[in-house]
Amino acid sequence: MLDFLKPPVETFQDFFLLSGRAMRNVFRSPHYPDDIFQQMDIIGVGSLPIVMLIGLFSGVVMTMQMARALEQYGAQGQVGQIVSIALVRELGPVLTAVLVAGRNASGMASELGSMKVTEQIDAMRALGTDPVQKLVTPRLIATSFVLPLLTIIADFIGLIGGGVIAFTLLHISGSQYWTAAWKALEYNDLVQGLIKPFFFAVVIALVGCYYGMRTTGGTQGVGRSTTKAVVVASVWIFVLTSMVTRIFLYYK
């Protein structure tokens, strides 16, 4: 009667088994530093231009929209405060993570998926390498390391974008904008803004690798895995951000 529950429960079980093995391997040899650095380059350096661009425009748009709302209360000068809180707490981490999910969770799923359907994963196991250690753990470490850094850059560029709009269109002085932006941030906001990308990174890497590793059905299967990886990772990013935000608000 409850047969319909079997596939999702199995998926959860497999996902957590893979996650457990990938995390345990972080502390186990052999380590593959070359693969870790290669992934950092692909995920970090590769995503940098798009993350900067999106960061910039989110700051620009936020400033323009918020300034209009604040104008009604004559508080336009405080726009820096709202932009910095929104960017550092929420928009920076989430937008960066969604971008990296679209760019790299899909990349991981398609790369590992292609390896799976061409029996390269089986070949690894047959030739003395644990594919989780060689493929999943380096991606997990690399993403966990670079996503918080990318988020910091996106936040900063977003604040600069907001500052430019505040100065040029709203005629707010640079010092007023930056003082409002800086003073608005509390320790709690920074911690929240840096813990979130770390959780997102774990989800992006593990979901991307999980769907890649369980690919079946040839090239069509690779396409399906890639789509699923992006969708599932993006949904989890929004679920997690809600949960973390709730926890931080509770303990504030």
Binding site: S114, M115, V117, T118, E119, Q120, D122, A123, R125, A126, L127, G128, T129, D130
Partner: protein, 282 residues
């Protein structure tokens, strides 16, 4: 130890969902023996090979490799025993991101047994690995492709690189998954000649999965002559002395429905078994 079978399946069953992939399979083979496995697509041939080296775990039954029960071994503990097995995957299984040389060197550089052996020799390791890789690639007549990537080679060449990688560790058991599938007859025969040459030189236990009857026929009746470099019909005496010991398996929906010699195969009245004969002889 010498007398213990190289591979032994004891009532092995495996299901993918509700579909049986292996259905109560039992057999054993000793050193120097060859098994040719015929079967339609999805009959469990590839699963049989992967189960034999512990890449897939059976639902029930036991698999023994070199006398050791591998059914419940942890992945980490399987690596040592797998290092004594060479496998050629149907899809080749070559690593796209590595050159041909790196692909063939992969098992030597990653399997703990060989890593320890290389470290023990101190200082000469690179030369030793490179020499073994070159030797293995020249065995399959691809000594000139070291720096190329798999995508730059033809299907037949990739299959030969796969053979070189399977042979580089001098394994005691070789598993070939459809080595001639999708290849033209000339390339297919070259590959079979290489596999026969390997069997002749090292007398390795071999399981060959194929859908070409001709492959099995060549294995059962021909041997490689190193002096002329060609295949020759093996003498009956050689066959009777056990030098060439080839048995045929036919699989259907996960079951082993036939096990016997070529003569028994040809005499079989089972219409499913006969399909493979007709396919090959037509």
């Amino acid at each position: 130890m010498a007398d213990s079978p190289v591979v032994r399946f004891e009532d092995v069953s495996l299901h993918f969902g509700s579909t049986p992939a292996l259905d109560h399979i039992s057999f054993e083979m000793s050193a120097g023996e060859t098994r040719i496995v015929f079967g339609a697509a999805g009959s469990g041939k590839t699963t049989l090979l992967k189960t034999a080296m512990g890449l897939i775990r059976p639902d029930s039954g036991r698999v023994l490799l070199f006398g050791q029960d591998i059914t419940d071994l942890r992945e980490q503990d399987l690596f040592d025993i797998r290092s004594r097995v060479g496998i050629l995957f149907q899809e080749g299984g070559l690593f796209d991101s590595l050159t041909i040389e790196e692909n063939v060197a992969y098992p030597l550089l990653n399997q703990q047994v060989f890593k320890a052996e290389i470290a023990h020799r101190n200082g000469t390791e690179n030369r030793s690995v490179a020499d073994r890789v070159r030797e293995s690639l020249s065995f399959v007549k691809l000594g000139q492709t070291l720096e190329k990537f798999p995508s730059e080679l033809s299907g037949g060449m990739r299959r030969r690189v796969g053979i070189a990688r399977a042979l580089v560790t001098a394994p005691a058991l070789l598993l070939y998954d459809s080595p001639t599938a999708g290849l033209d007859p000339i390339t297919a025969n070259t590959i079979i000649a290489l596999i026969l040459k390997q069997r002749e030189e090292r007398n390795t236990a071999t399981i060959l999965v194929t859908h070409r009857y001709l492959d099995g026929h060549l294995f059962a009746n021909f041997r490689y002559n190193p002096s002329s470099g060609t295949l020759e019909r093996a003498s009956r005496i050689a066959g009777e002395s056990g030098r060439v010991s080839t048995k045929f398996f036919v699989m259907k929906e996960g079951r082993l429905i036939f096990e016997g010699s070529e003569a028994e195969l040809e005499a079989s009245s089972d219409p499913y078994v006969r399909k493979f004969l007709r396919h090959g002889s037509s």
